[in-house]
């Protein structure tokens, strides 16, 4: 978290700079099946963030040494397009994207029924086309929808959500200014049906009480986004079976 400077993030009327309430999330739009070359895909717009995810597989895992005898491996690449940020970023992976790819893969492995596909690999390609704070969560949401679109069995979806702290106040779903000048950020990957947590990171400064408020906001948001995810998958299913393709 930036955590410095005297930037005012809450208005006198208690609302946030963009007019949202403290427990209100940004608008979310989801579409499944947007990339014809992939076995499954999704497009998610969350605020001004845009993420696209393509699924390839299950396919034979190679090189051989990455194979697991009893399950599929999930091979995630989280990547930011060079034009996705205010200052252009050089193409290729950096330490941040490698860490996010690792923990995202581990979160997805927690829900995909990987034991159904021994020795195989499922490629999850998350591309961030526009970044406005919270891209790792948007990527997780996109990956869950794309996996479902690819027909890969999962015991639940995962929803990527985050809460944080600005001006000593806990708020849901930080936007760019709040992320830059806020005091804490708590991104989570939540299983909407069971309320289990498959993805967890946090940085900044949170008391135990503040943590609990963040958790409560995240749970609420997970349910809201879940509805939008299911709706996108239903539309995709209908379009496929309605003869359009």
């Amino acid at each position: 978290m930036g955590g410095y400077g005297d930037v005012k993030l809450l208005r006198d009327d208690g609302l946030r700079l963009d007019g949202r309430k403290i427990d209100e999330m940004r608008e979310v739009e989801i579409e499944a099946g947007v990339l014809p070359a992939a076995d499954g895909s999704a497009w998610v717009k969350h605020g001004l963030n845009v993420a696209v995810c393509a699924i390839y597989g299950p396919m034979e895992a190679h090189p051989r040494k990455i194979q697991r005898q009893d399950r599929a491996v999930i091979d995630v690449r989280y990547n930011m397009a060079p034009f996705s940020t205010s200052d252009r970023i050089r193409p290729g992976f950096n330490r941040r994207s490698r860490e996010i790819s690792k923990v995202t893969a581990e979160a997805l492995e927690s829900v995909v029924l990987v034991e159904r596909y021994p020795r195989s690999k499922i490629r999850v390609e998350i591309e961030i086309l526009a970044a406005e704070a919270g891209t790792r969560c948007v990527g997780i949401t996109a990956a869950a929808v794309a996996l479902a679109d690819a027909g890969i069995p999962m015991r639940d979806l995962i929803v990527g959500v985050a809460s944080g702290k600005v001006e000593d106040t806990v708020v849901l779903d930080l936007d760019k200014a709040e992320d830059n000048y806020g005091q804490a950020d708590l991104p989570m990957g939540i299983l909407p049906t069971t309320g289990e947590i498959a993805f967890l990171q946090m940085d900044g400064d949170l008391s135990v009480d503040e943590y609990n408020t963040c958790l409560q906001y995240n749970m609420k948001a997970a349910k809201e986004i879940h509805t939008i995810m299911v709706d996108a998958l239903r539309r995709r299913y209908e379009s496929k079976n309605g003869g359009e393709k």
Partner: protein, 260 residues
């Protein structure tokens, strides 16, 4: 295993070619449908999404302020790169840029650069000290054939609709980038022995060499490239060059329509 498919596919394509047919029913010089959308991404100063048949690409333009080269103190710079990341298709693998992606980026780059559509001197802020650098990045998200033409179209469309973020750089008010021409690319692939326009992914898999032609507003050639195994005769080139003359005009019109 993988190589048996092309053999059968090749036979099928040869047979269709004898009857002057294509595998998806198109005519020899017929293109797939194209949807072009610009200004579609937050943070990019220019952006374009191209859906070309089932091929999907995004192009984004970013600017930077930089020091000019000592021997060209008043000239800005233009750079165009393409990424063929694993998202684009099953055959693409992670790793350093492949020869394919380097070729793609460089051929698109040359077409735009050599057309002279950007006046490098117009990118000067303070001679010898500060100039603008333009960076076009192209992202292929779904490769179902003919990514070259889709990428070239996205690149010039993103460029022609780009806004120079002058305020962010403290050099005045934002203004549209000045682009004086609309170079577009037209690619031909040898399928079943003869060239066709806008090959789809099956025609590419079962076809041979391809030729990429970039033409400017006057119909002048700005970039040529032959790719893959195979040769062609001067007469064959004359024929496709003529087709390209018509087709590039249509593509340029598609781009220019975005700006209104």
């Amino acid at each position: 295993m993988v190589e048996l498919v092309p053999k059968l596919l090749r036979q099928e394509l040869n047979k269709l070619a004898e009857e002057d047919k294509r595998i998806d029913g198109r005519k020899r010089w017929e293109s797939r449908e194209i949807t072009l959308e610009t200004n579609c991404l937050y943070n990019a100063e220019g952006s374009a999404k191209v859906v070309w048949g089932e091929t999907v690409i995004y192009a984004g333009v970013k600017f930077e302020v930089r020091t000019p080269w000592p021997d060209r103190p008043t000239q800005g710079s233009l750079m165009c790169g393409a990424e063929l990341r694993p998202v684009a298709g099953r055959k693409y693998e992670p790793g350093p840029p492949s020869p394919e992606s380097i070729e793609l980026g460089r051929v698109v780059d040359r077409g735009i650069r050599e057309s002279g559509c950007i006046d490098m001197d117009s990118l000067c802020i303070i001679p010898g000290e500060k100039v603008l650098g333009i960076m076009i990045d192209i992202h292929v998200l779904s490769d179902k054939g003919n990514i070259f033409d889709a990428c070239a179209l996205g690149a010039i469309a993103a460029l022609r609709t780009a806004i120079v973020p002058a305020e962010r750089f403290d050099i005045g008010e934002d203004y549209p980038l000045s682009v004086s021409m609309t170079p577009t690319m037209c690619s031909f692939t040898r399928v079943g022995g003869r060239y066709v326009l806008d090959a789809n992914e099956k025609e590419e898999l079962g076809g041979d060499e391809r030729i990429h032609i970039t033409l400017g507003d006057e119909g002048h050639l700005h970039s040529l490239q032959k790719g893959l195994k195979g040769t062609f005769t001067p007469a064959e080139f004359d024929e496709i060059l003529q087709v390209a003359q018509g087709r590039c005009k249509e593509l340029a019109n598609l781009v220019n329509a975005q700006e209104e």
